[in-house]
């Protein structure tokens, strides 16, 4: 059995929805609210709650604007968010290596 501390996986990212959001944001420049809602099969409320948590942690930047009188919300990952995600992936890698050993 490995002696890796699983608590090192950050709780904020360690949820199915937020991990998916962070992955989408790290692989793109900008992601629209409706894109995330559609791909993650989430309700508006559920997605908003998760996005707010990521925003409060300083992991995402939110831009709200009106295009042809319709509201549009887009998200971008911040440098802090990028670092947190990279650390998270690094820890996942360590767990896999520890499990293999």
């Amino acid at each position: 059995m490995s002696d890796f501390d699983y608590l090192q996986l950050e709780d904020l990212i360690h949820s199915r929805v937020r991990l998916s959001i962070m992955t989408a944001l790290i692989t793109s420049i900008e992601v629209d609210f409706s894109f995330l809602k559609e791909k993650l099969h989430l309700s508006d409320g559920n997605l908003s709650v998760n996005m707010r948590k990521l925003e409060e942690a300083g992991y995402v930047n939110i831009t709200k604007q009106f295009i042809k009188r319709k509201p549009r919300t887009t998200y971008r990952i911040t440098e802090k968010g990028r670092e947190a995600f990279e650390k998270y992936i690094g820890n996942l890698k360590k767990i896999i290596e520890a499990t293999e050993n």
Binding site: H14, L19, T23, A24, V31, L92
Partner: protein, 195 residues
């Protein structure tokens, strides 16, 4: 724990798949350029038959300017609707901007140098640059059709030098049809399929 890690990796992999685009979303821009140059060819043919002037090619350069304006309009419309902005789109946009500036620079150099450079020679250089843009775009989007289209433009650059002048309209039409309109239609179709 092993199962949990597997699930996490699955989530990451699935989301990367979701955000990975296989098709360029500039299908309409390719189609517009193809159609615009077909109109330009017909227009030039009509001019050639009606006006007897040696400086006919000057009129031709109105069309790229119109194309540039239409490209900017189409791009800004697309930007409004875009749900996902990817790094691939950004890179391909930069490549085509560089290609466009290269084409404009070459034309300006030819005009300024005041050498009597034939239109057909300029066209070959333009075909090569369009080919470069297509091939790099094909590699960025991992889309083989665009790579083949790039090679097709290079082949066209050689063909227009080798074939007799009466074959040129046919070669130009082929290039515009198979090198711009067809890939544009395929890109639109793939984009619709991807959602």
């Amino acid at each position: 724990m092993g199962n949990e890690i597997e699930k996490e990796l699955e989530i990451i992999q699935q989301m990367i798949q979701n955000t990975k685009k296989r098709a360029m979303d500039s299908g309409n821009i390719l189609i517009m350029w193809g159609l615009l140059f077909i109109v330009a060819m017909i227009f030039m043919q009509i001019l050639q038959n009606t006006i007897s002037t040696k400086r006919l090619t000057i009129y031709f350069w109105v069309f790229p300017v119109v194309g540039l304006i239409l490209t900017l309009i189409l791009k800004s419309k697309k930007r409004e609707k875009k749900k996902l902005k990817t790094y691939a789109d950004k890179i391909v946009g930069a490549i085509w901007l560089a290609c466009g500036f290269s084409l404009a620079t070459i034309k300006i150099v030819f005009i300024v140098s005041s050498h009597n450079i034939e239109f057909i020679f300029t066209a070959s250089i333009f075909f090569v640059i369009i080919g470069i843009g297509m091939i790099i775009s094909g590699y960025v989007y991992q889309w083989s059709i665009l790579k083949l289209v790039g090679l097709f433009w290079w082949l066209g650059a050689i063909l227009i030098q080798l074939l007799p002048q009466n074959y040129l309209p046919m070669v130009f039409l082929n290039q515009l049809g198979l090198g711009l309109i067809v890939p544009g239609l395929i890109a639109n179709h793939l984009n619709k399929k991807e959602g």
